[in-house]
Amino acid sequence: MQISITVNGRERTSEVEPRTLLVHHIRDELGLTGTNVGCDTTSCGACTVLLDGESVKSCTLLAVQADGESITTIEGLADGEKLHPVQAAFREHHGLQCGFCTPGMVMAAVSLLAEQPDPTEHDVREGLEGNLCRCTGYHNIVRAVLAAAEGSQA
């Protein structure tokens, strides 16, 4: 099937098999390997991207379901050389170690802050429950998200 998706601001048209998952389309067809696959049960959130501004686990959608929509991956988040405030906060607060969960975690945090610009620690922890990290114990991820929220409030 032919599908057309606006990816990080650019329209991309491709031929896909109906069974292709969106994450495989992003990685293998579009060559954007920042988005990772961490599980096969929609549990880990490593594949989180924004679909029309809202976070989705891209292993849970078929590529054809994104036809005509707009997606943002980690590669499309920074403004040129300038990191997005969430990316910058993750760096500042050591919110990543091995980096594998990071693209998904950052996209989930961006979506969370869009919905809740002034979250409590509890809100952040509940909001990121669907994104697993095995390295950081979440401590610095939570700090980073709260700092990003505070920064964008200021």
Partner: protein
Amino acid sequence: MRIEDPALLTVGGTYVADLRAPELDGAAYVTYVRSTIAHAEITSVDLTEARSAPGVLGVFAAADLDLDRLPSASPILPDAMRRPMLATGRVRFVGEPVVAIVSERPEQGVDAADLVWIDYEPLPAVVDPTEAARDEVLVHPDAGTNVAMDIAGRTGDELFEGCELVVRAEMVNQRLAAVPLEVRSAASAWVDGRIWQWSSTQHAHGVRDSLAEVYGMDPAAVRVIAPDVGGGFGAKIGSTPEEVLLPWLARQVGRPVRWTETRSENMVGMGHGRGQHQTVEIGGRRDGRVEAYRLTVLQDGGAYPSMGSVLPFLTRMMAPGTYDIARVDVAARSVATNTTSTVAYRGAGRPEATAAIERAMDLFAAEAGLDPAEVRRRNVIPADAFPHTTAMGVTYDIGDYEQALDLVLDAAGYEDLRAEQARRRAADEQVQLGIGVSLYVEVTAGPRAGSEHARVVVESDGSATVYTGSSSHGQGHHTAFTSLVSERLGIAPERITIVHGDTDQVERGAGTMGSRSLQLGGSAIHEAAGEVIERALPIAARLLDTDVHEIRFDPTTGRFSGPDGSAAAGVGWVEVAGTSQFDGAPLAAAVDFTAESPTYPFGAHVAVVDVDTETGRVVLRRHIAVDDAGRILNPLLAEGQRHGGIAQGAAQALLEEVCFDEDGNPVTSNLADYAVISAAELPSFELVDMETPTPINPLGAKGIGESGTIGSTPAVQSAVVDALAHLGVRHVDMPATPERVWRAIRAAQT
């Protein structure tokens, strides 16, 4: 801030599955067909249909192979239990690879797997290690026993002679899955008669040596590259058949191959951690002084006993923990079962030792009617007793355990917490407060004196390249080693390149495991950089036309100056390294740093939990940690290691457990069923600093990678039991799930 982060945050890392190396152009994909039964004879394998499926380049079973079995993880393990590359004759656990398929596209391999027909004649499965120890069902008939390793105890009942109190308990240090977010992944190509292997590993040189052994090649004919690695936690130390078979498959199909498992494969195919059944006996006086301790361990080795089966040696080594106990004895045995093999997992044998002694201390305190923190204080090795040799014959380098205890109790507000607990108990509130205290000491860069290789080169443009045998999988080696070299050589961080995880570029390496990287890898780099300075001095003397003894090197500027002392009049790395290069040799030094012994980080943790006595639900409210890893070079990285370790340790106490049914079917074989801890189940952690530099290495650093895990598990477990102590509960096995807690309360009431 870390050097690694900008790339990871903007385009993501380059993990094996992301690689676009030209040598992998046209790579085919490997799919393994795995056993769906825990123990069975393979009566027939029919590959005909699969071989003619679309896109399939080759389908192979054990009968097609001409490869030896996987090298053993330890020479003490029985040869008869070594693992074949593909199941041969019988399958021994669910998830064991039986058939390998190579296809053009990954999905074609998955489709073809459905066309592989394997007939099994089921055999009784032995799943429980206690049952396995009876040798009624043998996992490896040729071995004649399920016992893979046996350490006999040295004493009988006389160990507890004269003790006023003796307490005995059985507990399970349950099996866990490491769950690095990146699953196992590798790629292989034959390049000019050599194997090139890209591997998601903690130990590239180890993979190289395994491949060289299996393929009968010189290690120099094998190149292993570890690109970005998405976590390991011990489970990516050893080589596995799925990876080792790749060069063979690549040769068969005449193309490079790639393999990335699914998470569901990972949960049954990658080695699990822990898995010890423990019996503790502890005896002493009514005043709280412990005089004797015995730990008996039954380690579940899984189907092909591997690293996990030798970890009881580490458990034995650290059995008495931080306490000065006159008489200690340990007996340990590892047995094969029809389950996934056990390997190292964060802490690897030491968390098991700490959990056992800390639970024993709590039980002893309860029996003596004393406060658990006070009983610990009465038994710790005093600060003036270091270096201290324990009853196990192990010499701890340096420590101040009582101070760690004081610091953590003070930071926790221990007295106030006990008052709050008393209030809730008096009011008979539904949600009770539990306070858990743990003290730990562990061994890092051990169990014997470790070593690591480093080579530091100052290039003729004044930049530096550091080659290290240590290998990062998230720890931040680039940041840590860059700042170490920058401070020593006065070269700006952006002009320093760290090279690791490539066996063609780094001559030797022991990889990253056992909290060894900074203390061994860092010390090697530190000394190599020092040697570079020594080699630079005579060159600077020549350039400045003065005596070498007159030359001073300033590490803040990276300049060499003569007797007039003015740096401006001196020379820098560009001149010195350029001259060295001109003379025919790069300005470089290689060092193999060997420590005289391992180091022994220690600490104290307090966990505070709410336990709902009606539902059994446990909520971790606070976790306070003192972790003394000697001198801290980079507080940001050290704290990150502590956070991650604490979370994994708390996860063991509260949530995580790998389970099999009685037939050996895994029931936690994906992330929907295995409860990896999330942000919602954890609080922010309260860290307390303490630094007691070790005399063992020039940096004064001990390991920090595993401490958090080792200290937190027993503190959290103890807190759960403590919340229920007034109800008569003395022990709750891990993980303290609502059901288990609820049952413990009901059992205590009847």
